[in-house]
Amino acid sequence: MMSEKRVNVAIIGPGNIGTDLLYKIIKRSKYMNVVLMVGIYPNSEGLKRAHKLGVDTSSEGIEAVINTNKDIEIAFDATSANAHFKHAPLLEKKGIIAVDLTPAAVGPYVCPVVNLDKYLDDFNINLITCGGQATIPIVAAISSVTGVKYAEIVATIASKSAGPGTRQNIDEFTQTTAKGIEIVGGAEKGKAIIILNPAEPPIIMRNTIYTIVERVKKDAIVESVEHMVDKVKGYVPGYRIRVGPLFDDNTVTTMIEVEGAGDFLPKYAGNLDIETSAAIAIGERVAKKLINKSVELK
């Protein structure tokens, strides 16, 4: 039944990430309706694809989002950090909530299963990094049971799933993920390592999460991690434990595999899928809240 009200959203950036967002919203969203996709190149493949799917497009970039009369309430930004720095104040002025998939971090770091509740009223929400979305839930699950003195994550992704943005800004990935592990994951100190593997066929994203815990409460840690994995599965069905949690003195090792849904991006690119899926999960919660609010007002 489509009688329920939906929130109008825009996607900024018609690249692979933006297109995957579009596919996901069209396929599964309960509360959102994509009314506009914008880019800056008229010949963009992504804009053509969106047009074929019946979505209005523009190559006027952010201007098109600001000047439209489509009553857009949420915008997903899948461009670059530099572009988002320009977009953020324009969107806020217009009263549009930004879900930021770039590393700009204008708004707070958010991982939907960990801390979204705190930031539902914010005008700008940042997705940290793909490695952060894949690993921070595990760190948070453990730090909810016992103090985590140190957390270190190793994200291994298929070379083919790392675009030029990631490649040219690899330091940003490690630094931002490490910060996210501390701020959102709750570890006293965080460290992140990223490895690109060119094997063919491409490998599925893998993450190893090491934590040094204050108290080795084995059963509670295992239960908390398994519960968290189930929660993440709610928006990334291919998120699963490969190994662990294994205990070695006060070090806990958990290995996670992330298989994507294969909506637009290939299934091995779990690193990109978990990012777009988290963005959609945030969008859905925000949209639902906006709908409830408008119902109350009436």
């Binding site: 270190e152 190793v154 291994t156 070379s159 030029p164 490649r167 040219q168 800004n169 690899i170 330091d171 990935f173 490690t174 630094q175 460290k191 390592i193 990223i194 490895i195 690109l196 593997n197 060119p198 094997a199 893998r206 190893t208 090491y210 040094i212 490969r242 190994v243 294994l246 070695d248 070090t251 090792t253 290995m255």
Partner: protein, 339 residues
Amino acid sequence: MNKPSNNIQIIDTTLRDGSHAVKHQYTLEDVTRIASALDEASVYGIEISHGDGLAGSSIQYGWAKYSDEERLSVAQKVVKKSNITVLLLPGIGTREDLKISIAKGARIARMATHVTEADISEQHIRMAKEMGLEVMTFLMLAHMEEPWKVLEQAKLMESYGADVVYVVDSAGAMVPEDVKARVGLLKEKLSVKVGFHGHNNLGLAVGNTIAAIEEGTTVVDGTLGGLGAGAGNAPTEVLVAVLDKMGYQTGVDLYKVMDAAEDIVRPRMLRPQVIDRSSLILGYAGVYSSFLLHTFRAVERFDVDLRDVLLELGRRKVVGGQEDMIVDVAYELSRKKEK
């Protein structure tokens, strides 16, 4: 025959690649003694970093007894002639780590990526060049790709500003023909210098280095006593002796590196630096040499055969830095054994 160049620069990496073999437990006294001996012997570069590069100290790669900064600080006091050299693997270390090491006297920066991933080193190469360093770049596990692919990636590094591009046989898996094909093509098509870094898992570290030099390599790596990951590296003292006999100039004092290997480094070895079945299988399977000691630990923990673990890692085409896969494979093999 006219040799393209008679001068060979030797970078000694006892205090970086050798660090794997002592589980990154060098004391500051070790660093001082080794660095001053190498400086007195006049090697071109003395590489000092965690085995996995700057900021490599971690659960994944092993904690270092002292930080990169602490080790560089003591070396800076004793190194007068040689160039202090650091290694950085983008994805592990960052430009911030590089800046700290430059403040501590680093004059040569080496950026290392897997042989297919050169473009992740662009930021780091450009920054190091801007800061006035000599930049050498590593294409690791170069045996895994065909020469044309190695060249494609080497050209990227050259375009970012590298002064030397290395063919790195991280798994000690190449035979001399493999080395010649890769080095020869790079030498022909690049305008910068070509380097070679070998491992001894197939007993070819020195032989492969000579093969590389015959193809025009002018910068090569060694470690005192061959101390290093897997079966170790080309022993610096052996390289110096062989190159001298062949008529090349290294500028290195042979007796001094012999003494440093024998008197300072060999007593620090945790296990003899030989080609045993475990290091031989690394070279045979083409697995990153520094996986060896981590594999020993995993084999003990999960009670499986070391060779099975290394062969499976080879089949899965793991790359440098994927030490976590050792536990994954050992765990899976132990599960299969239970069934």
